[in-house]
Amino acid sequence: MANIKLDHIYKVYPNGVKAVSDFTMDIKDKEFIVFVGPSGCGKSTTLRMIAGLEDISAGELYIDDKIVNDVEPKDRDIAMVFQNYALYPHMTVYENMAFGLQLRHVPTEEIHERVLWAANILGLTDYLDRKPRAMSGGQRQRVALGRAILRNPKVMLLDEPLSNLDAKLRAQMRSEIAKLHQDLQTTFIYVTHDQVEAMTLGTRVVVMKLGEIQQIDSPKNLYDYPQNKFVAGFIGTPQMNFFEATLLRNGDSVEINFDYSDNKLFVDANDLIKVQPHYLDGKHKVWFGIRCEDLSIDTSNTNSKDSFKVKVSHFEELGNETLIYGDINMNGDGFKESSTRIIVKALNSNGLKAGDIIDVKVNVKKAHFFDYDTEVSIVPRIPTLNVISCSIKEQKVLFDNNSLELPKVVETKDGNGQLYIPCSAISISGKGTINATIINIEDVEGTKVAYLKLNERVLFLTLSNEDVHIGDNVKLSIDITEITIKNGEDTLVSTLKKYNEISSTFINFVTANSNEKNKYSSILENNIAKVNSKYEEKVKEINAKYDALINENSSKDLSSLKKTNEEKIASISLENKEKLKEMDKKYKIAISEVKKQHKINRKAVVEKVKEEQERIKKEEYDSYKKFLKTNKDKDVYHKRKSEHEEFKENYPKERENLINKALDGETLNYESALNEIKAPYKREKKILKNNFKEKVKKLKDEYNVLNVLEKERKQALQELEREKKNNLAKARQIFFLKINGHLYQSPDLISNKMIQGLGTKVFVKDFLVEIPNDKIHISDEGIEATVSSFLDYGEKKFIICNVVEEDGSTHEFYVLNDSEIPVGTKIHLSFNLIDTHITEKSMNLRIY
């Protein structure tokens, strides 16, 4: 029962290979997460990092809000199932499952109970005393599962658990795992390369490629809304069809032109409303993706606008349906995977034959579009950016019959361009000047996306709390600091810088304190004093508690108690010895019986094989004799003779082989039978012994009560002392970030991340600190800066100032400030480290 948080996790090998980069994910309690991807994509590495079998190079791993980067696997309270089962071959199934609990010193009775519980769930009750050698693959995997669920771990990790099983068994185990998850209600993390397993099992699926997360989503969303071409191609069989194409908008319709083909589609612009508008210019190359079930054969012969021509190349019959392979290029062959090959799903081949040219109707609403170079979807489910063509005239931006006045500080020349408006820049709550109508509100998994119609164009806006409805007329205002206007490569108006960048180093307390002449000593002393006083109180509490207990017990008459208890112990031990003797006797008898039976069985088995072989031999000899009598043909005679010779030569070998095989089988049975007696005997003996020990200890403790209490007190104090030591060590860990010559005490949150991420290397690295321009203000102390100019955006006003770093480089800082300050004034800037972002410079690792 646990939440797991992976925070910017990296795995970098010593040779510099990044096996996993920037893995960030929140896993909620009871989720079934599947990592899927081609081999070598880092999915297993990530799982092994969660298990603690692999070190984390950078980033933090939280289990239940506790950082566990440096926690041993055994202390993480996880369980893992391996691809090759990894059962202990020298132990029986029972011992295999109990091993983990035994190492944790769980009482024997409880272990027994839990083993039976797990065996019952997995249907292993009859096999408990077998060794893994005598079990089939599916049973072994079940034992591995049982071993994992037995401890009731916080997280179950499964590393391709089914890939060693055959197809039928795999399907069966798949549903068993799904059922197990339902019953146990534990967090599962499952690694596989099989997309069927991923889609059927996962509540959420993580698709990975080359160490990077491609998409994290529910199976349905992965299928319907892939975020990039890789995910689109990876999920779904047969693979999605991809074509290179360009999109051109003509008023209300969009023309889709395919490369290497004369085919064109004309579709309603409303079907492509979410496609980022600047891709609709007929120049940007895109990938057009369509699944085979969204294509259908058009027999109407009307040459409609939403169908194209395909030359059929071959078929794949699947029984219930047929896959028709073809090419949209009339010269293509349809066999190779190319950017013109197409697969169409149909109920049957319908009398078609290779070489036919057919019309295929495309369901454009189900089509996917990806950027040609980045392969990222250009149809975001939640749009973040609006693009509209515009023109600039006399400090005014004109778009879609609306105008936006630019403040004087924005220097620009007149011309045409594309206006980029991030959704975050649009507001409908304030006093805007632009009229718009809400034509649709779409609910994308809790996020509401509003479609705002201006005159012709539609803008997207993610709603937070605004109470608006479809059909409402609203007034828009646009934050000019966040817009960009581009004309091709030229940027006419650029976004205002949001973050101010400055470099820094990380310093520990001793260095900082000695550099600053013991200025910070008081911080340390304070911290230590706090811990000391806290533990002093606790020690007093414990002492008082035990003093009272000892007082209470010292008045009792212990010597007579001792006498009676010693008598009890003697009688118990006698009883125990007798029980053991009886068990031993029974055990020996049972074993000798099995051995006797084994001897008989061996003989019988060998006898049976011998008899059978003897019969075969006799048959062959008889038939040969008969043949010799009746045959007159010489050629046939030679043939038959050599056959007979061969039989004579091979017969003894074959007989021996068969005997050995039969003996092996019998030996396996014998071993199983032995184990069935041995294992419960050992178990019962152990339980008996433990019970006896416990009883004796309890009786002894009764009359040794004073010593026991003293011991307990000592233990409690020791425990406390250890805790105190840890806390003192933590209190001594004070770190600073040195920025522009000033020391800022690093909050624990940031210090932890820095040290977890980089270890001791943290002190020699340079970091880039990014401070948002609205979280930095003018004050009496802090970074020194010289004002260079003032920006007036109407609603927002900024000061631009220059900060000179120690190495001489100058940074321009934007500071949100309402009042103007004369140019050249020296000011001090202060900020809170919590608001900033921190990045390691040389490896470009985002730390905070």
Partner: protein, 286 residues
């Protein structure tokens, strides 16, 4: 008919080549076995006669003499050897297997370098360091004791890690990992998971580390410094043959030789039942 001829010629070739192989093997085994048989037979003779292979008069007196002869305390030597060999076998097996496990499973910086270094050092004959060894033993006060030999034998035990490491490498790492997740530390993994799976290699290592001190002559004679009570069997038996009374004592020497080999044979037969193959069956996919 042609077919039959070919069949025969093939058979003929097979028979001749087999005959040749067997002749060579028989000659080799005669050369190898005769000394043993000779030794065994001579240990039962009453008086030694080099020209007679089969003794004229059979007797057990040589074996009785071994333990009653006041000049040569064979019983003492045998006990010495047994103590040294048993202690060495136990310690050396543990050290060797632990070293092998460390090299097989742990990844530390100088792992490769150590492995190569050990290989190179192992190429030097051990007697090169004999004099230094003596002074070292004198410094820790073990130069006049049979336990000095134990220390010498065990000191280099880790160098024999090679075979065991090869075996450990074949045990899947996922077993270690599963045990670690189950709550075991490296120590528990070694003793409770890996060792029970490695019976063949444990037996092999025990046998190797038992036989070496059992038959060692050079180090033992050097450290005994001529004191009879510190001899092991090899040094003692050699002493028996080196004082010009060789003819007289030869049958007794032979009896000693037979008695020495009995020890090793007993150990081998005892351990053989653990030497079963396929103990790893069923651990992982199969």
């Amino acid at each position: 008919m042609a077919k039959l001829e070919r069949y025969h010629s093939k058979k003929f070739k097979e028979i001749t080549s087999r005959a040749l192989i067997y002749i060579i093997l028989i000659i080799l085994s005669i050369v190898w076995l005769v000394p043993f048989i000779y030794l065994l037979l001579q240990s039962f003779t009453e008086s030694y006669d080099p020209t007679n292979i089969i003794p004229e008069v059979w007797t057990f007196q040589n074996y009785i003499n071994l333990f009653t002869d006041p000049i040569y305390p064979f019983g003492r030597w045998y006990l010495n050897t047994l103590i040294i060999a048993i202690i060495t076998a136990v310690l050396q097996t543990i050290i060797t297997l632990m070293t092998a496990y460390a090299f097989s499973r742990l990844r530390f910086k100088t792992r490769q370098a150590y492995m190569k270094l050990i290989l190179v050092i192992g190429m030097f004959p051990s007697f090169l360091g004999m004099i230094v060894t003596y002074f070292l033993l004198q410094m820790i006060g073990l130069s006049g004791s049979i336990f000095g030999l134990v220390v010498v034998y065990c000191a280099g035990a880790g160098m024999g890690y090679y075979v065991a490491k090869g075996f450990f490498d074949t045990i899947p790492r996922s077993l270690d990992e599963a045990a670690m997740i189950d709550g075991a530390n490296k120590n528990t993994v070694f003793w409770k998971v890996i060792l029970p799976l490695s019976k063949p290699i444990v037996v092999y290592t025990v046998l190797m580390s038992f036989t070496a001190p059992w038959g060692d002559y050079m180090m033992a004679s050097y450290l005994a410094q001529g004191k009879q009570e510190l001899f092991n069997v090899a040094v003692g038996l050699q002493q028996m043959m080196s004082k010009g009374r060789d003819i007289q004592y030869f049958p007794q020497f032979c009896a000693g030789g037979v008695f020495v080999s009995i020890g090793i044979m007993a150990l081998f037969f005892w351990l053989q039942r653990y030497y079963v193959e396929g103990v790893t069956g069923g651990a992982v996919k199969g």
